[in-house]
């Protein structure tokens, strides 16, 4: 080691000096000081490059080295070329000539250098030039070169798929090789060809028997000592052949049948005491699942995965879980048999394993095991890290809705869920809970008592508190009497002071989120009509609480506070009517619950899963006219598929409930989605606008009784702004008042609404117009949803 101390020390000096240098010019000066040995210089240059310094000035040096006749020069030169040149630079073409000459060099190592370089940095032009040379080398009598040429051919056909034809015959003959290295690269080459072209795939299907025979020889006869890894003969080759078999057998029953025997044979013969055996088994499982195998074989595969789950090596458990996730749809029953083991994996210490296990568990929940599984998932939710809570919570809510054995259980579970998930629960779970409670009048009192209990226990869990406030507001009457739920537990009545105390805490506490405060204010108002006795003292405290935020800097809160105080002051006579209980919310047309697309995708991170169906259901449902306050949210989610802000759910809901306040019976018109940026597409916005008006879109008929018609006229101001002028016409024969237009756009757009021209629509043709401006900064094609609310006189 002492002998070569010279050069490395220079390298170190060089590095030190370069680090001290501040500019590229200084660096170059430093380089000049180190005496020329072009070879060593370039080596140093590559080291520098690795550390992150720009080194493209070395490219020409590399080319000069490559042109030199000496092997040592060529070696460094080609290495430098591979690291520094990129196929997008013009410079790389200069190396083509050297590569072409060197490929046919008598020294095999020089030829191999050329092949390696071609394999790394080939561009379409280089590939076209040298394709023929490579093909000749595939037939060379030097196995080492054959091997490299085969991989080179692979890269070439990746760049230029059309010239695949010329390699097909030589690839086929390569399969007769004895040399494992060549065989390996040949199998890779054929796999790539089959993936690129279906005709080639058909052509190579005839080779399945050959491949089966090769595999058999590998496992049966004495193995080649060199390729033996821990007692398994050439596992890499086995794996590659299995991958190729998978490609060939996919969706082809004839080919698959020829493979059944060998797959079973390899599966049973493979040693599993070391990791090596596992990689082969894993590949077999993937192949069995990927081809048209008989069911016995599939069960065998799932059982192999089940055995993997019990393995002490984490990598193997992880791999097993992710594979099970991929096959759970196809082989549901087989996977169910391993459910207990999978549930055990929830308690693993490794976060990736826990996540996989969680997703898999959700896929396995069905009507029979819902109770047990829900219990497991709830205990998981209580203990797991915060990165899991949101997804677990949302998924469990979906599962509960789908498979709940009875409503009481459903309500209980949702409440426990919110309690366990704490602040990580997404708003849609709260929304689901609200909807459920509103439907189940039998359990409303019970639910309110439970919620009161939870909320008073732990005020920091905002989603729970929010739900509690809303329910107390709406169903608070139930709190003031004892509740005996299903004859099981009894909850004692609460006094109005206690209840108001809780709401006061919600209004005043700094832990409360804005959305909680909004709901609390409304709840306080509603409570004023739900009190068992209309005591003046209580009414005064309510009035005081309602007015508390009259001077708040938050607009929404202030507005509510002021309006509610106004009710007390001026509209005392209609207060009771205004605050009547809400009608039962209609649930979605489909039975599946919808998560906003974003959280749905997050909850089932690894692709195929049962939850995908929900997104389609959401898309279908959004088109339906819905009178629920969630419809606005769903315009955003299902139409664009973008990741929505889930918290917009509640403020919107709250807005609606205040509009509910002013319009007791609303006929809402949910218009179909209008693509206002239809002709913008995704093109660059033009600097000069054409002030062309979008065609007046056809009026949207309402589905309500009263005949409210919304129509849209859009005109473009600049290329990424659209002015929408919406006209609402009253086609019925009753007066309509309190017109309120709501519009929703996806998150990538911005919307601003001008005041309406009025809010009364006289019968038979009275109209109101309102202008809205939609800004589209990114120029994406976008959608906008409109909803009009009016109060119709004379209707109930």
């Amino acid at each position: 080691k002492g002998i070569i101390a010279n050069t490395p020390k220079r390298l170190r000096d060089l590095i030190r000096e370069i680090r001290a240098a501040k500019t590229a010019a200084e660096e170059r000066a430093v380089k000049r000081h180190h005496p020329p040995s072009r070879c060593r210089n370039v080596a140093k240059l590559l080291y520098i490059h690795m550390l992150g310094y720009p080194a493209h000035f070395g490219q020409m040096e590399c080319l000069k080295l490559v042109a030199s006749p000496k092997f040592s020069d060529k070696r460094i030169g080609y290495l430098g070329a591979m690291l520094l040149l990129d196929e997008r630079a013009e410079v790389h073409l200069l190396v083509t000539n050297s590569v072409k000459n060197d490929m046919n060099h008598s020294t095999q190592y020089i030829a191999s250098l050329a092949l390696s370089t071609l394999g790394s940095i080939c561009s379409p032009e280089m590939s076209r030039d040298l394709a023929g040379e490579v093909q000749a080398l595939i037939k060379s009598n030097n196995a080492y070169l054959r091997k490299k040429a085969a991989l080179c051919a692979l890269r070439i056909i990746q760049k230029i798929p059309d010239i695949m034809e010329m390699y097909i015959p030589c690839a086929r003959s390569l399969l007769n090789e004895k040399n494992h290295g060549v065989l390996l690269t040949a199998v890779c080459l054929i796999s790539q060809m089959c993936q690129l072209s279906p005709e080639t795939l058909n052509h190579f299907r005839r080779l399945v028997p050959n491949l089966v025979r090769i595999l058999k020889n590998l496992i049966m006869s004495g193995f080649s000592q060199d390729h033996d890894v821990n007692g398994v003969s050439d596992p890499f080759l086995q794996v590659k052949i299995l991958q190729l078999l998978r490609i060939l057998g996919h969706q082809d029953s004839a080919a698959s049948e020829q493979m059944n025997d060998i797959l079973a044979q390899v599966a049973t013969n493979t040693e599993t005491s070391k990791n090596v055996g596992h990689s082969i088994l894993y590949e077999i499982v993937l192949t069995i699942m990927g081809i048209e195998s008989e069911s016995g074989l599939r069960v065998l595969a799932v059982n192999i995965l089940g055995r993997f789950l019990l393995n002490t090596d984490k990598n193997i458990r992880y791999v097993a879980l992710s594979t099970l996730q991929r096959v759970v749809q196809a082989d549901y029953n087989a996977v169910q048999r391993h459910r207990t083991t999978i549930v055990d994996c929830l308690r693993d210490t490794d976060a990736s394993i826990k996540r996989r296990a969680m997703e898999l568990c959700f896929s396995l929940i069905n009507g029979q095991n819902i109770r047990g599984m829900a219990k497991e998932m709830l205990s998981f939710l209580t203990d797991c890290g915060s990165e899991f809570k949101a997804d677990c919570c949302s998924n469990l809510a979906i599962a509960a809705e789908r498979y709940a054995p009875n409503k009481r259980w459903h309500v209980d579970t949702l409440l426990k869920l919110l309690a366990a998930a704490g602040n990580h629960a997404r708003d849609d779970v709260v929304v689901a809970a609200v909807q459920l409670i509103s439907e189940q009048s039998a359990y409303q009192a019970y639910a309110v008592h439970q919620l009161f209990y939870y909320a008073s226990q732990d005020f920091s869990q905002q989603p729970m508190v929010l739900l509690a406030c809303w329910c107390i507001g709406e169903y608070g009457g139930g709190l003031f009497s004892d509740c005996c739920a299903d004859g099981l537990e009894t909850y004692s009545a609460k006094s109005p002071e206690e209840v108001l105390g809780l709401l006061e805490q919600a209004l005043l506490s700094s832990q409360s989120r804005q959305s909680t405060k909004h709901v609390a204010v409304t709840a306080v108002m509603k409570l004023s009509t739900r009190l068992p006795h209309q005591e003046q003292q209580l009414l005064d405290s309510i009035r005081h609480l309602a007015a508390y935020h009259c001077t708040s800097s938050q607009l929404e809160l202030q507005q509510r506070s002021v309006e509610f105080s106004a009710i007390f002051r001026h509209h005392e006579n209609i207060r009771a009517a205004l605050l009547e209980p809400m009608p039962v919310m209609e649930s979605r047309a489909e039975s599946g619950r919808n998560l906003p697309a974003g959280s749905g995708a997050a909850a089932v991170a690894s692709g195929d899963s049962a939850e995908v169906g929900d997104e389609e259901a959401a898309a279908a449902a959004a088109a339906a006219v819905a009178a629920t306050f969630e419809s606005l949210i769903n315009f955003d989610d299902s139409s664009t598929g973008g990741v929505p802000n889930a918290t917009t759910g509640l403020p919107n809901a709250a807005t609606n409930s205040s509009s509910m306040l002013s319009t007791n019976n609303s006929n809402s018109v949910a218009g179909p989605l209008i693509d206002v940026f239809g002709d913008l597409g995704v093109s660059e916005p033009a600097p000069v606008s054409d002030a062309s008006a979008l065609p007046a879109l056809p009026p949207i008929a309402s589905a309500g009784i009263a005949g409210l018609q919304l129509s849209l006229v859009g005109s473009r101001q600049q290329s990424n702004n659209v002015d929408l002028i919406i006209r609402a016409v009253n086609l019925g024969d009753t007066n309509m008042t309190n017109f309120l237009l709501q519009a929703a756009v996806p998150k990538s757009l911005q919307l601003s609404m001008m005041p309406a021209s009025g809010d009364c629509l006289p019968p038979a043709g009275g109209s109101v117009t309102q202008k809205a401006v939609v800004t589209n900064p990114n120029g994406v094609s976008a959608l906008c949803g409109l909803k009009g609310l009016v109060r119709v006189e004379g209707v109930g």
């Binding site: 040995s37 997008r88 692979l154 890779c188 390729h227 890499f236 193997i316």
Partner: protein
């Protein structure tokens, strides 16, 4: 199915070998190295060796498969169709090959002989595809190329050759064997 990048860095994130099989601009390469280091260094030693790729190197379609040996992380960034367990075996073969050719390889070897490490790697993986998995085959090819280089070595290695020649000469023994001529007697000079 292909390998997108092979990275070796130490426990502080210093890169010791970087090979990208897909083109990235140089500063992006450095960013990728840093991001990969951050992702991998956070991992406990007893969790599984697979990670989703970071945002820079392809996200969900790509995986980082790594092994931690003493002071070095060996990270292979592969696309989702590669077998994870197979790649773990490949890393094993790579490390064992390095071990055999450098005799108990350590980080210093990688620092001073990064070109040799590249040469070995080029016998293992080419263009992102696995080329050869037989350790002795890889080693013998590498040795042959080393010999070829040495035989060509010209003037620049003269000092090295001189030193090794001197070593071969076994000087201490030669000194012992030297026969001194007889010294003239002083007495005869004064005669």
């Amino acid at each position: 199915a292909m390998i997108k990048a092979i990275l070796i860095f130490n426990n502080h994130g210093k890169p010791r070998l970087t090979k990208f099989y897909v083109h990235y601009a140089e500063d992006l390469q450095q960013q990728i190295i840093r991001e990969t280091f951050q992702l991998v260094s956070k991992r406990d030693d007893n969790v599984c060796n697979f990670l989703e790729g970071g945002t820079l190197i392809g996200g969900q379609d790509y995986r980082l498969i790594y092994r931690h040996y003493a002071t070095l992380y060996f990270v292979f960034c592969v696309d989702s169709s590669e077998s994870e367990l197979g790649i773990l075996d490949l890393i094993q073969v790579f490390v064992e090959t390095l071990d055999k050719s450098f005799e108990n390889v350590c980080e210093l070897d990688l620092i001073f002989h990064v070109d040799k490490v590249h040469s070995i790697l080029n016998e293992l993986v080419m263009g992102g595809m696995v080329l050869e998995t037989n350790m002795s085959e890889i080693l013998s090819r590498f040795e042959e190329q080393q010999k070829l280089e040495k035989s060509e070595a010209g003037f620049s290695t003269a000092p090295a050759r001189a030193v090794s020649a001197v070593k071969d000469m076994n000087l201490p023994q030669k000194i012992k064997d030297m026969k001194m001529p007889d010294m003239p007697h002083f007495s005869s000079l004064y005669q």
